[in-house]
């Protein structure tokens, strides 16, 4: 049996004005377990807290009920008071007789009656409280960033800057991501390489940062502060630490006709290659599907040429195991495939290209050395049609495309159109759009300049069909504002393809038990208040893996994610919320219902041997809650059919006791 003390606060006249506090204290004196009951003007004041502390000592109290303002206001205060008097802070219950009683009821009699009932409910609950101690777990002071695009790079740099070691895992042979492929960036039109490559060099030179390029995350175990990660470092057949990146092998390699991924297949690269001049790490990689030596055992030219002796045809995939305290997901995006969009003739004509391909075509380091040409015949295009929202903002039921707005297309299309007109004033540039969306600093001004200064022809309406005819592309479209059908003979058509999360995100989310939305974007812990955290503790989100984003937004989210990681890694120990779920193994069926509703992946299963009632032993699968990960929502407790899963601090028995007390 508990020894409960009841402390009724007047809150000046806030409570005492509508509630007869003395009567409440008197009535609660008779409740089971109550050994002391009193009232005071301001319980939260130093003097009030002293009353509580003294009563705890004097009456050997094991539980406290404070009838006062909302627990959201002073629960923490009174828990500290109890702790200071040597009582477990979770032996305190608050009866909210201000916000939910005295302030909403006008009549003294009614207010007093209700206050007594709320007090009784709190007493009934505290009678069933048990002392709770928050769990502690150590923190491994190292972060993992998955993805080496601008999001991953910025996050890693910020974390490293705070003094914590960071590893970047990038599946391509170099970091840099999509931004490295871009030409200029909106709205300032500075060149992407000029602002990105110095950051890439910073990463390479930072002692706190390790880069696992050409690598993928293979397995994730553990929990916040204590993740165990296996990383697969794919064999690149070049010793990374020895290769100087001189490029001699690349020049001499006889297997030259392989589509160049970096230029989206618009030109070729050899079997041994460095993706681009500023690659980090600047190390060659052998494409095993293209190399004659690896395929047929014939050639070996690169090994003979390499002065450093870096070529190693026997290299195998390597598994690296490392512990991390925090994980940042920065897996980015890809344009969707245009395969299904037959109406734009993407598959029929080389002169129908995506915006990213356009980006490479206009890039000085691209396949055409920055000269805008038609991919089919190398001629200069005169009429260029840009089509926006290809695969974005589609009907939910449409078979192709995405329901959401890809967000960045309006701005980069304006950029493309403007740059084209700037460099080639002889061109005619059309942009077909549904809406032009330009919220962002200096964005709308940018778009208006494209229209007003550079004479880009913006037409509200969708392109219905593109038909290649001779060396022209017949573009059939509608102009919604003038309600006219348009026919344009174009030389080049550029499709602003929707963007989607990288394909690697879904399996990664499963490994991390991080949740995703139906479009495979990672979901945030809270859409407004915790936008860079995943619901899974210790997993953070950076960049377009969480939703379509432009570069400034990505960089700011990357910084935000980094600051969350730094905040986590700065702690030596993590103290949990003790009001968490726990499973009674004797009653658990191992049915997985709880695991399925847990938003945090806090529940795992273990096979345990049990002594059965009939004296036999049986191995059973039972749930186990990770106290460091559980946030105490209680979804599992209701999903559990046997009642094996219960929530500390809000136990079934406690809530039922409150119900009973209220309904008496």
């Amino acid at each position: 049996m508990q020894r409960v003390g009841v402390f009724v606060c007047w809150c000046g006249s806030n409570i005492a004005g509508t509630v007869d506090v003395a009567a409440v204290a008197e009535a609660l004196k008779n409740e089971p377990g109550v050994v002391f009951s009193t009232d005071y003007q301001y319980m939260c004041s130093q003097a009030g807290q002293d009353i509580i502390k003294n009563a705890i000592a004097e009456h050997n109290l094991t539980g406290i009920v404070v009838c006062s303002c909302s627990p959201r206001m002073h629960e923490a205060t009174f828990r500290k008071t109890a702790a200071a008097a040597g009582l477990n802070p979770y032996m305190v219950e608050i009866a909210n007789i201000r916000e939910q009683c005295s302030w909403v009821h006008k009549d003294m009699l009614t207010g007093t009656e209700k206050a007594i009932i709320l007090g009784k409910a709190a007493v009934a609950k505290v009678n069933l409280n048990t002392p709770l101690t928050p769990g502690e777990s150590p923190v491994t002071k190292r972060a993992l960033v998955i993805g080496g695009g601008i999001a991953g790079i910025q996050t890693a740099l910020d974390i490293a800057d705070a003094g914590f070691p960071v590893d970047i895992v990038e599946k391509q042979p170099t970091i840099g991501g999509k931004m490295a492929q871009l030409d200029k960036t909106f709205p300032t039109l500075d060149c992407a390489a000029c602002i990105l490559t110095p950051k890439m060099v910073d990463v390479a030179q930072n002692e706190k940062i390790r880069i696992f390029s050409y690598s993928e995350v293979e397995e994730v175990g553990g929990f916040v502060g204590n993740f165990d990660v296996k990383i697969k470092k794919k064999a690149r057949f070049v010793k990374e630490d020895i290769c100087t990146g001189c490029g001699a092998c690349v020049e001499k390699c006889p297997m030259k006709k392989n589509p160049n991924e970096f230029n989206l297949g618009m030109d070729n690269r050899p079997a041994i290659y460095i993706p681009f001049a500023q690659a980090v790490p600047k190390v060659a990689t052998i494409d095993p599907n293209a190399c004659n030596m690896l395929k047929n055992g014939k050639c070996g030219l690169c090994a003979r040429i390499c002065a450093a002796g870096a070529i190693d045809y026997t290299q195998k995939d390597e598994i690296i195991e490392e512990k991390y305290g925090a994980i940042v997901v920065a897996t980015g995006f890809n344009p969707i495939s245009m395969e299904k969009f037959d109406e734009f003739a993407y598959n029929q004509s080389k002169d129908v290209i995506t915006s990213l391909e356009f980006e490479r075509l206009t890039n000085a380091a691209g396949p055409s050395a920055g000269k805008l040409i038609r991919p089919s015949d190398g001629k200069h295009p005169h009429t260029i049609v840009f089509v926006q929202c290809v695969g974005s903002r589609c009907d939910a039921c449409a078979e192709k495309g995405k329901e959401y707005c890809s967000k960045i297309c309006c701005m980069y299309t304006a950029k493309h159109a403007m740059l084209t007109r700037d460099k080639y004033p002889d061109t005619e540039v059309y942009v077909f759009y549904i809406d032009v969306r330009t919220p962002g600093k200096n964005f709308d001004e940018f778009y208006r300049r494209a229209v007003e200064e550079f004479g880009v022809k913006y037409i509200k309406g969708m392109v219905g069909k593109v038909t290649p005819e001779g060396d022209k592309l017949k573009v059939q479209a509608s102009d919604l504002l003038s309600n006219k059908q348009l026919h344009i003979d174009a030389d080049l058509v550029v499709l602003a393809a929707a963007i989607e999360p990288d394909k690697s995100a879904r399996p990664l989310a499963t490994m991390l038990t991080a949740s995703m939305d139906t479009n495979d974007f990672f979901t945030e812990a809270h859409p407004k208040l915790r936008p860079v955290e995943s619901p899974t503790a210790g997993v953070f989100l950076s960049g377009a893996c969480q939703g379509p984003k432009d570069i400034p937004e990505t960089v700011s989210q990357a910084g935000a994610a980094a600051s969350k990681v730094i905040g986590l890694l700065a702690k030596d120990k993590l103290t949990g919320n003790p009001c968490i779920a726990s499973s009674n193994e004797l009653m658990c069926n191992g049915c997985s219902s709880c695991e399925r509703v847990c938003p945090y992946g806090a529940i795992t299963y273990v096979d345990k041997e049990f002594r059965m009632p009939d004296r036999t032993t049986k191995i059973r699968r039972v749930a186990s809650v990770n106290p460091a990960v559980c946030q105490g929502c209680g979804a599992c407790t209701v999903a559990c059919p046997s009642g094996a899963m219960d929530l500390k601090g809000f136990a079934n028995s406690q809530i039922i006791a409150e119900v009973d007390a209220i309904c008496k």
Partner: protein, 332 residues
């Protein structure tokens, strides 16, 4: 009446037992009469030959027994599964309730099982023997000189009249041909009750549930109720009792029972089959199934292993609890 014969099953089973594929067999054992058949674990060929039966009264669903029996037997246990039993089998696998590796599942087609109460309604009491005779059952009684011929369709158990599937969704080996999922009228009775006024429905259930004697047969026979410790047996749960104290407890017991299996119930109908008081308990389960189908899309528990039960799942577009009452005839 049943297309597969008992002899075929015994032959197959004896072969699997003697070549060591299985070390025990969960099957039906003959009783005192032709209809009182008991589930049994057979371990020898002799026992099988002497006691195994397969006829129109082999209604028991064996899936649940696997939870306990797979732990008791060395090697594999053979289990006979009628189409409806295979759904329970899968659901239990989804919930990790037994080790699939320890089971050898033999699917057998089912033409529907007879309900002895319906037989007695037609031919009267004092049944001495029941034999299958083509489409009919030949029933001899103490009180009539000549045996009565009863069409098996006329005495089919309610759950078989409203059979949802003749298709086996799990087996290692199938005897005979597999059937199809059936468009049944199983929700008609639920719809009939839904069409009543609340007062009529209240009176209907008050009458039905007042007969409950809390024998727990519905729970203990239910293949979805495999809790290590049922809340109704657990004094700490606040709902435990050994008797239906009053009409509140009658209702509470059946609401909670049905809610705990909602989304997991395969509609096998064992609850109603075993109820000694003839309470149509399956209607409560079917109400949940019908609602879930209408609210969240068609879902058949046990149709596949590993599927996510609707009540441990969600979409952001789900209907609001207040909307369940005014959805009207949205399909009409």
């Amino acid at each position: 009446m049943q297309k597969i014969t008992k002899d075929q099953l015994v032959e197959k089973t004896v072969a699997l037992l003697s070549d060591g594929t299985v070390s025990a067999v969960l099957g039906w054992s003959r009783g005192e009469f032709d209809y009182d058949i008991t589930p049994a674990v057979f371990k020898t060929a002799e026992d099988l030959k002497e006691n195994f039966v397969w006829n129109d009264f082999c209604g028991a669903n064996f899936s649940k027994y696997l939870v306990a029996q797979t732990g008791k037997v060395e090697g594999k246990i053979l289990v006979f599964l009628k189409p409806c039993d295979t759904y329970s089998f899968n659901q239990l696998l989804t919930e990790h309730r037994f080790d699939r590796e320890k089971v050898y599942a033999v699917g057998i087609p089912c033409e529907g099982m007879a309900d002895i109460a319906k037989v007695k309604e037609i031919v009267g009491d004092g049944i001495v023997s029941i034999e299958a005779d083509g489409e009919n059952l030949k029933v001899s009684t103490l009180y009539e000189d000549a045996p009565a011929l009863v069409n098996a369709k006329d005495v089919m158990a309610e759950r078989c009249v409203n059979c949802k599937s003749k298709k086996h969704v799990a087996y290692d080996e199938l005897m005979g041909d597999d059937g199809e999922v059936i468009e049944s009228n199983r929700f008609d009775e639920v719809a009939r009750l839904e069409a009543m006024t609340p007062d009529e429905r209240f009176a209907f259930w008050q009458n039905e549930l007042s007969r409950c004697i809390r024998c727990n047969a519905c729970r203990d026979a239910c293949p979805a109720c495999t809790c290590e410790k049922c809340v109704f047996d657990n004094p700490a749960s606040s709902v435990e009792n050994k008797a239906p104290a009053n009409s509140f407890e009658e209702k509470m017991f059946h609401i909670i029972r049905a809610f705990h299996v909602a989304g997991r119930c395969t509609d096998c109908g064992e609850c109603s089959r075993v109820c000694p008081q003839n309470i149509p308990l399956h209607l409560l389960n079917r109400k949940f199934i019908k609602d879930i189908n209408e609210f969240y899309g068609e879902y058949q528990a046990g149709a596949e292993v590993g599927s996510r039960a609707p009540l441990v799942d969600y979409t952001t577009e789900d209907l609001e609890p207040g909307e369940v009452f005014d959805r009207g005839d949205k399909d009409a």
